[in-house]
């Protein structure tokens, strides 16, 4: 048994941190946040592509580095820590994983090399309205290879080249690959809680759609993608939560009230201790998720749900209590606290909220108990 990353993986992590420290400060994040015309940082995206990160877990035969998901987890943590304003999750944990799970050889060779090279941005288009995505919530439909309907919100849908779209055909829910640059697609950029990340409303009027996977497999494919995404996003969340705790700690050490550092008051100490505990629990759950993901273990659905639920709790708590620790200055636009507060919500909802993941978790436990 060994419950830690390898020395090589730790080296990759420290290299990733150095790279992001140099290329992705919070000023970089604000460059997207403060500019309505930008939904991601293109120079950063290109620099990350030059590092080969998009292809971390893509097999070498498809132009990737052919490393494991464990290496991708390590990078995810650093991206989360840096609040990187790039469409990495949608492209790498979303589109690439969907194609790896269900793509035909032709689809794999068409898309994976472009993703690995950083030439293609992806998106997952499943939601059409408030609430959980289910067979009943999907109105978008396909007939004769043409897609009609609308999807919102689609994270990174405003800049993506290809989306995985859930739609119905002959009464069954299927997944489709749709070229968003083709005819019959219109995009409306959405105002969201976290403007450092892009999102769109996509409208399809006879857009060309190519089925991904078998007929009727759409929801199953998305569920498999979400299980993988949940683990990878958990690492992003843990990275952000740890940095929020560091910010809170630094501020508590340097801010004085009533003649002493606010970090010497138990009200603040206990709050920060609780942050630490939640972060550690989330990290440990994420590690188990990483192992289940990397080895494609049968425990993955339960491990993914645990990683997701624990990470959502930690990142939300760290983000809101970091802001609270800062007091009034934390509520200003100039202070970075709200960047973490916004991203915690974005990451906490983008692959389905914690409430639904708790339900998935208990369903998995029921199955296990019954077995």
């Amino acid at each position: 048994m060994n419950f830690d990353f390898s020395d090589d993986q730790k080296f990759l992590k420290s290299e990733a941190r150095k790279f992001l420290d140099a290329h992705c400060s919070t000023a970089t994040v604000r460059g997207v946040l403060d500019n309505v015309d930008r939904s991601y940082d293109e120079p950063l995206w290109k620099a990350v592509a030059a590092q080969g990160w998009m292809g971390t877990a893509i097999p070498e035969e498809h132009g990737g580095l052919g490393l494991g998901r464990m290496e991708l987890c390590v990078i995810a943590e650093e991206l989360g820590r840096a609040l990187a304003p790039i469409p990495f999750a949608s492209t790498v944990y979303g589109l690439a994983e969907a194609v790896l799970i269900a793509g035909s050889p032709a689809q794999k060779s068409a898309l994976l090399p472009r993703i690995a090279a950083g030439e293609l941005i992806g998106a997952l288009a499943t939601s059409e309205g408030p609430g959980v995505v289910s067979a009943g919530s999907i109105k978008a439909s396909v007939a004769d290879g043409k897609l009609t309907g609308e999807k919102l919100p689609v994270t990174d849908g405003d800049v993506a080249g290809v989306a995985v779209v859930l739609a119905k055909e002959a009464g069954q829910v299927n997944a489709y690959l749709v070229d968003l640059t083709g005819a019959g697609v219109t995009r409306e950029t959405l105002q969201t809680l976290d403007p450092s990340r892009g999102a769109a409303r996509l409208t399809f009027k006879g857009a060309a759609a190519e089925r991904l996977g078998g007929a009727g497999e759409g929801l199953d494919i998305i569920e498999q993608v979400l299980n993988r995404m949940a683990v990878l996003l958990a690492f992003e969340q843990v990275g952000g939560a740890d940095r929020a705790l560091e910010m809170a700690k630094d501020y508590a050490l340097n801010r004085y009230a009533f003649g002493r550092p606010i970090g010497s008051y138990q009200a603040i100490k206990h709050k920060l201790a609780d942050m630490y505990v939640k972060n550690e629990l989330a990290r440990s759950n994420a590690y188990f998720g990483a192992w289940a993901l990397d080895t494609d273990a049968p425990e993955l659905p339960l491990a993914a749900a645990s990683a997701r639920v624990s990470a959502c709790e930690a990142s939300w708590y760290a983000a809101k209590e970091n802001l609270q620790t800062h007091g009034g200055i934390g509520f200003t636009w100039e202070m970075d606290c709200h960047l973490f507060y916004r991203r915690a919500q974005q990451l906490g909802l983008v692959a389905g909220g914690a409430k639904q993941w708790k339900e998935r978790l208990v369903t998995q436990l029921e199955r296990r108990n019954a077995a």
Binding site: N285, Y287, S306
Partner: protein, 405 residues
């Protein structure tokens, strides 16, 4: 990262399983509710020691098998599958004897380590006092040099919350040797013979009904200077070793989610079967991720240990998570039982009244071995590096520190 056994670990596990299967009591022979006797506990400990399954990580020179922390973990996992007798040795083997091994004299190590390991002698830890629980360094029980020049010490005072004092052979005792210096500097650690007639043990009647803890009174107890553990005035530093081990020891435990699910499955609510209750399902998920998170945090600590790194105060998170969790589980389970929840008679209450029992023991868990609040201070100060709270007793001679009631 690999959550499976290595070939060596798998081999060790197989051996441990075979040994347990041949030697441990069987589940079907175990009568629920029947307390194992001390003789059974001692016999089981001796058996384990002879086979190299007691104190697995202790070095060979002290009679341990010199195994790895993983082997210790593996054996504990396998042993937990059998209804083995209760373990009155935890405090001695987990706290007192390691303290002697770290800070005691060579003669004490030779005298005490082996018998403790084999379950022949039981130890207790005497730190808390009526006037100092969380503030353990405020100990007032005095040790003064005997006036006869023998170098012996005379001890007077009272300790409290001492687990197992009624059946212990020896105890480690934190004493005030100098009230004229600030409180942390005037303490010294000793070991004492608990069978000495100058020691009186009185059981404490706990709110849970049991009496696992005691008050211990010392009246002119005379001890040799050779019973001192560490230098005079160094008792606080010595006690830190003991307390850190205590928090690790209490940090275990499970979330009971399986039992709650079992209970909920057979219970009706206005929304239908209890297990379909959305609020309960959310709680089960919350409990589960906390318990799993702790389990894997512990395994991360094990990994650090196996690489020769020392686990730090982050090990404190176990108890600060588990104790309030158990209280919440119990309270939620009783709500689910509805009116029936008030029944604590195992004859009638679901699952032999385990949730009623947990409700009544949980407050103790949140206090013993460092309260929830003290543990948060420890995490904030030692892990995160936040400053200590203002201390009015700092740099003040112990005898001049204000004491309330």
């Amino acid at each position: 990262m690999d959550f499976n056994d290595t070939p060596e670990e798998a081999e060790y596990r197989a051996k441990a399983r075979a040994w347990l299967e041949a030697n441990a009591p069987k589940r079907e022979d175990h009568v629920r509710g029947e307390e194992p006797t001390m003789a059974e506990s001692k016999a089981w400990q001796a058996k384990k020691a002879a086979a190299g399954y007691s104190c697995i990580t202790w070095p060979k020179e002290w009679g341990g098998p010199g195994g790895t922390s993983w082997q210790s973990q593996i054996f504990a996992q396998e042993e937990a599958k059998y209804p083995v007798p209760g373990n009155p040795f935890t405090i001695g083997l987990g706290m007192c004897v390691p303290t002697i091994m770290t800070a005691g004299s060579e003669a004490d190590k030779v005298r005490f380590v082996g018998p403790a390991l084999r379950g022949e002698e039981i130890w207790c830890q005497l730190f808390s006092e009526p006037s100092g629980g969380s503030d353990a360094a405020a100990a007032r029980t005095r040790a003064v040099r005997a006036p006869d020049g023998s170098g012996d010490w005379i001890i007077n005072g009272q300790k409290v919350w001492t687990s197992g004092a009624q059946y212990s052979d020896f105890g480690i005792l934190l004493l005030r040797t100098d009230p004229d210096v600030p409180k942390h500097k005037g303490l010294t650690m000793f070991w004492v013979d608990m069978k000495d007639p100058a020691i009186e043990v009185r059981p404490i009647h706990q709110m849970s009904g049991g009496s696992g803890f005691n008050e211990v009174y010392f009246t002119d107890l005379r001890v040799k200077d050779s019973q001192r553990i560490g230098p005079v005035g160094d008792g606080w530093r010595v006690s830190i070793v003991t307390l850190m081990n205590e928090r690790n020891a209490i940090g275990g435990g499970s979330s009971y989610h399986r039992q709650v699910m079992q209970l909920a499955d057979g219970i009706s609510t206005l929304a239908g079967s209890g297990i379909k209750d959305a609020a309960l399902r959310e709680k089960i998920a919350d409990w589960y991720v906390q318990a799993e998170g702790l389990k894997y945090t512990r395994l991360r600590t094990q990994t650090a240990l196996s690489r020769g790194q020392t686990p730090g105060p982050e090990a404190s998170i176990g108890k600060v998570v588990t104790a309030p969790l158990m209280q919440d589980v119990a309270n939620t389970a009783l709500e689910l039982e509805d009116q029936f929840g008030i029944i604590s008679d195992p004859k009638y209450a679901p699952l032999q009244a385990m949730f009623q029992a947990t409700l009544m023991s949980a407050p103790g868990m949140r206090i013993a071995g460092g309260t929830d609040e003290i543990l948060r201070n420890i995490i904030a100060e030692r892990v995160l590096g936040l400053p200590q709270d203002v201390r009015l007793d700092k740099d003040v001679a112990f005898k001049d520190i204000p004491t309330g009631r």
